[in-house]
């Protein structure tokens, strides 16, 4: 009734090609932006931001990054944790070496450094595919963590190998360090997420995204119709690395404040982000958000319900949490192998026909 193309007349090519062609979608999108930018910052407290919103925003960026590589270009990567570590350590080195430059520049530069590293580790993808590539990226994961543990230059020769984020400000408002207001951290990450999502969405709609998808669907066919696999794969690794690096930098600088390669960026992080995009939906920007929300918010929710409301022992609750989250993942994959994004698509199709399905 209210969700359909009919009656929404497009009179220019620009209108025809917009991101959200359906009027309702467009207004919903503006509404979400309005709530996120104009309402949430005024009502959040420390707990909401630090336990739920910040991890959600940051992992969304990482999931978008991995989704470009794995979901759109079909290159399986198990090195996300290592690439996030590159972002984090790059950010730390920039922050301590050039304290006078804005943290925004540092985060973007960290993304650039990670993109370069990611391209380097992406080179083998031209020769090896599928599971074999997954193993090559797994090597990147272990190599990078080992490197950051091993070479003291990366952690400025501190005794324990930990890196600490000093206080940095944007427009005289602290965004990193201990004296940061919850809303400032939230806004800082939200701005980055918004820009990343906009860039990713538009990249995947254009030529470059189509070449990625062509490579994903059948690389030989893509080559025959004139897609350059070198360019497509390397650009996917680069763009993916850029986003993952930003996520790593934000995770370290804004969210954790102190980090260590093995502990914060281990193999579990790689799997976490991979699960996010599998559950959320491969090849979908919305899926990246949905997957991140599912895996960040659900454990916190379960913990609060089981321990906070029911008063169960913490260890029992923690074990149950594994069982419930694991069970839900299996259930989702059986019922909807294409992830939460597919549920969303189906819901939209149904809405189009409602209230008169055939």
């Amino acid at each position: 009734m209210f969700y359909r193309e009919a009656g929404d007349f497009k009179t220019s090519y620009k209108d025809d090609n917009q991101t959200f062609p359906i009027k309702f979608d467009r207004y919903r999108y503006y509404a979400v932006l309005f709530v996120a930018f104009a309402l949430v910052p005024f009502i959040v407290n420390d707990y909401w931001v630090n336990a739920m919103l910040l991890p959600f925003l940051i992992y969304s960026i990482a999931a978008i990054g991995l989704n470009i590589l794995t979901g759109y270009c079909g290159q399986v990567s198990l090195g996300t944790g290592g690439f996030m570590a590159v972002g984090a350590y790059a950010c730390y080195k920039f922050m301590t070496a050039f304290p006078e430059i804005s943290i925004i520049v540092h985060v973007i530069l960290s993304g650039g450094v990670t993109a370069a590293v990611c391209i380097l580790f992406g080179l083998p993808s031209l020769r090896i595919k599928g599971f074999y590539l997954a193993v090559a990226t797994l090597a990147a994961q272990f190599f990078l963590v080992w490197l950051f543990n091993r070479v003291p230059w990366f952690y400025n020769y501190s005794a324990s190998g930990q890196i600490n984020a000093p206080e940095r400000t944007v427009l005289d408002i602290a965004v990193t360090g201990p004296n940061t207001d919850a809303w400032a951290k939230y806004m800082f990450c939200l701005v980055f997420l918004t820009f990343c999502a906009l860039i990713a969405r538009n990249l995947t709609r254009g030529t470059i995204g189509r070449t990625w998808m062509a490579i994903r669907d059948m690389d030989i066919a893509a080559e025959i119709i004139g897609v350059n696999p070198l360019k497509a794969k390397i650009s996917a690794f680069g763009v993916s690395g850029f986003f993952v690096g930003i996520a790593g930098a934000l995770l370290f600088a804004v969210y954790l404040g102190a980090a260590e390669a093995g502990d914060s960026f281990g193999i579990t992080k790689s799997f976490l982000v991979l699960f996010m995009i599998i559950i959320g939906g491969l090849g979908s920007i919305f899926g990246s958000f949905a997957g991140a929300a599912f895996l960040v918010l659900l454990p916190v929710l379960l913990k609060n319900v089981l321990v906070g409301m029911l008063g169960w022992p913490t260890d029992l609750a923690a074990h149950l949490e594994f069982i419930i989250v694991g069970g839900l993942i299996i259930l989702f994959l059986i019922l909807e192998p294409h992830g939460l994004a597919q549920l969303w698509r189906v819901a939209k199709e149904k809405l189009r026909l409602w209230p008169f399905p055939h």
Partner: protein
Amino acid sequence: MKMKLASLALGATVAAAPAMADLVFPSLSYRTGPFAAGGIPFADGYADYFTLLNERDGGIGGEIAQVPECETAYNTEKGVECYEATKDSGALIYQPLSTGITYQLIPKVTADNIPMHTMGYGRTSAKNGKVFSHVFNYPANYWDGASAGVNHFLEQSGGSLDGKKITLLHFNGAYGREPIPTLEALAEKHGFEFNAIPIDYPGQEQKSQWLQIRRERPDYILFWGWGVMNQVAIQEAANIRFNMENFMGIWWSGSENDVKPAGMGADGYKSVQFHNVGSDFPVFDDIQKYVVDAGKAAGAGDQVGTVLYNRGVYAAFLAAEAAKQAQEANGTSAIDSGMMRDAMESLTITAETMEAAGLPNFGPEFSVSCMNHGGDGMAAIAQWDAEAQAWTLISEFAPSDASVIDPLINADSAAYASENNISEGCS
């Protein structure tokens, strides 16, 4: 999504329900994950001691002590979540029992004016109270432990370590890397050869490390492990018939859980301790009577008297003493975290205080000052007797080599201060 957030909000408010009248000692525990074997007894001891105070004495100075628990699984991100969830409930002190989480919380607790006590772990240079105003690591820290171990080896080899080889087998994380600078400095001083062999998380597989040890044949091994990696290392040492007399763990690698799986093979294994071992103290009779027999014990209630349970009790005892002294100093029973911090900075533990709490000679006597947040660094050596299935202290509590440690602490804390623009306090 909205539903989810609404129920989350509900859950969050319930979890953080403020209990204004009570004294709150949040316990960031880990009863799951690869380090649960160490986390469970400590959390039990910590909770049971406060339960004892509530049941026997009616709380601390008439105020009931609450110990809300939050599961971190030794994971730094969960640790941050736990801290945020509990800090607004009037938390007086944090003891995260994880060096990684400690590093995260050091700037946060300082900004929130809540003291943190990292007993025998955390950032060693936090001993310098001029830089780390809200972090305390009395009565001993890692560098004291490393020095105590080397001193013991020195004694063992007849007063000289010249030309000997000491290997540090350590967890490849913040915790395990802490002692390296000290050991490097000590190697220079005593003329022994030092090398470090890292074990990656979680350390269930150590074949390559022990192959390296067999190849290099060190005279002594110092061991910085935690959780499952302790049992594996001790078993591996037994397998290659390494002389257990020359194999020593830090206090986190010296509990019953670590040595029992290796059976007789672990006989003679040593560990550094900063408090006494065994259950031969009056307080344990009271815990049995008021807590365990009353069915109020935390966890399964089967850990009483083990090394790590004792450490939990000791941590709770030191926190409760600081709370008492804060109540006396401020003339009110309802203290806040700022008063707690001030009391911790002037805390004095004498033989009488320990005796009064039913813990005679349990730990060293020490006093804390603004300049020195770490006590005197007294440590003793314990040895495992596999026949009797018991740890016994084989040395007196002795001070560490301050001439080596103090300059290192000053250098590391100065680096932290300049990185974070902290001006020194305690004028």
